[in-house]
Symmetry: C2
DNA sequence: CATCATGTAACATACAAAGTTACATGAGGC
DNA sequence: GCCTCATGTAACTTTGTATGTTACATGATG
């Protein structure tokens, strides 16, 4: 099944924004993500509503981080996307009359629920600040590659 | 994202088959699952290859269970479907050059991997026989509703 | 008031599961 | 032998959702 990459995408954007100051236009971010500005605005909309980022119109406008990165977890970001379903598999029927199906659902639901809970828990343990720290380690002595730095 | 219900579906079929003897035609099973015979054949193909079921052509033909239900786990059935991806989310890029993306992927991969492992482990703990026992409990004093029992 | 940037609707594309049609293959029953 | 039944499979259609694109309204800046 095709996999939803919005969480991956929006984290990428946020982490890039954390590396340098100043507002970023949707177009700049879109170039860095190799996608379309409208897609950026779409996935950022939920973050704005929760106050994690701000957006300004007009000259000098764009997106700005507006939160304490050490207080926002990957789970928060996931929630900002509208908490899309985490699992690629589900029950054929949610409230079946058939007892056979009920037995099947009960078994699968248990496993599914546990896996979802674990995943959410793991996402809740990682803050954006921790991601930033990890990135800095990876950068090592290397110079940070600021987005939009090479003209274009 | 739309959820893959093949595992749920094939378990439903297997559990129905465990409730009564004799071969079942794809059409009979399809009626019980409210779907198409070809869909049944499709999801049963993997199970046949692994020897969990057999199929016979011609008069009196159809599908038959061919395994020890206490030895086959939900994980085995999942594998028989070709081990489709379990998670609805994934990384935007698998082997990115961008260090930012690498940092994001590393964090997400960890969480994703743990959740998948837990789910597989849970599925591996449940056998088809256990599902059957649970079903019998649910049936209680009620009479089993054999598929195809009401004419039609 | 011209330009820039977001906000959003509307439409197009890509892709996988699910459903359908068509026909080949092979196993009885007569 | 031949008809019928049932699987096996390819090809096509439908559907749902993420993604991509176009178009235009809104508002801020110089």
């Amino acid at each position: 099944m095709r996999r939803d990459s919005r969480l991956s995408g929006v984290l990428h954007v946020l982490l890039h924004m954390a590396q340098q100051p100043g507002p970023f236009t949707s177009e700049t971010l879109a170039k860095a993500m190799d996608t379309n500005p409208v897609v950026i605005r779409r996935i950022m909309a939920g973050l704005r509503q929760l106050g994690y980022v701000r957006s300004e119109k007009g000259h000098g406008g764009g997106w700005t981080l507006a939160c304490d990165l050490s207080k926002v977890t990957l789970r928060d970001v996931y929630a900002a996307l509208g908490s899309p379903s985490l699992l690629a598999m589900g029950n054929r029927t949610e409230a079946p009359g058939c007892l056979v199906e009920q037995a099947v659902n009960a078994a699968l639901d248990q496993a599914f629920y546990d896996a979802e809970a674990l995943l959410l828990s793991r996402l809740g343990e990682v803050t954006l600040a921790m991601l930033g720290d990890d990135l800095r380690k990876r950068l090592g002595s290397r110079k940070i590659h600021h987005i939009g730095a090479h003209g274009a």
